[in-house]
Subunit: 133 residues, 2 copies
């Protein structure tokens, strides 16, 4: 069994993820952590993200386009992506039970997990006048 050793770089990656609600990508995390450790490599960010995902500390979010994002919130919840600004919001949690209840009956097997993503234009984008899209 492999021992996990301390790592200042991993600490910095973890600290950044835990401190933001922005669901950052590996590149964004890399850019931030580099202000503290200018010589950290992108591979180190990916390796630590994968390790933290495997240990259940964080969750990886994959969407149709673009790179993966990372989320410190590992409980089952859903996301909303604005097609103008690309921001990723958390959805309120009330939805989940309704979905699971409606689904269980008709699935072609056991349902162990599910991913649900909503797309639209967020209120902030709708209200700002200088839109490009």
């Amino acid at each position: 069994m492999k021992v996990v050793k301390n790592s200042k770089k991993r600490d910095a990656v973890r600290a950044y993820i835990m401190g933001t609600d922005s669901h950052p990508t590996a590149e964004e995390i890399y850019a931030k952590v580099r202000t503290i450790f200018p010589r950290i490599s992108l591979g180190t960010v990916y390796r630590n993200l994968n390790q933290m995902e495997e240990s259940g500390e964080i969750k990886r979010l994959s969407f149709t386009d673009g790179p993966d994002h990372y989320d410190y919130n590992t409980s089952t919840h859903y996301h909303y992506i604005c097609r103008k600004c690309g921001r990723i919001y958390d959805m309120p949690t009330g939805v989940k039970d309704a979905i699971l209840k409606a689904v269980e009956a008709g699935a072609p097997g056991t349902v162990e997990s599910h991913d649900l993503v909503f797309y639209g234009v967020c209120n902030e984008c709708r209200n700002s006048s200088g839109n490009l899209l």
Copy 2:
């Protein structure tokens, strides 16, 4: 405005997708169409898939891991992926209304579309004894 011209290759791609429920990948489509047009290139498959997706003929499915899949069924419906065999099933349609109703209230913007994927082990895999996973 760009004119769409006839294309035997595109016809073959379309015919294969329309004739299968397996939600094939570009590579799988490529392999099949190559039995008819041995010199077709993978780029041609991708180009035609993208064109058919833009025109609304087919739908592209992106999942967390692996390549994209393509679906002739463009109406809103959900998928179930077996984590043993990887097969992609269609989910029964009753789920949708419950979800939309539960969601509309709390979203941070308009909800224009959503993607929902379920993961589990399908009954076929559960019942087969010679499993490797």
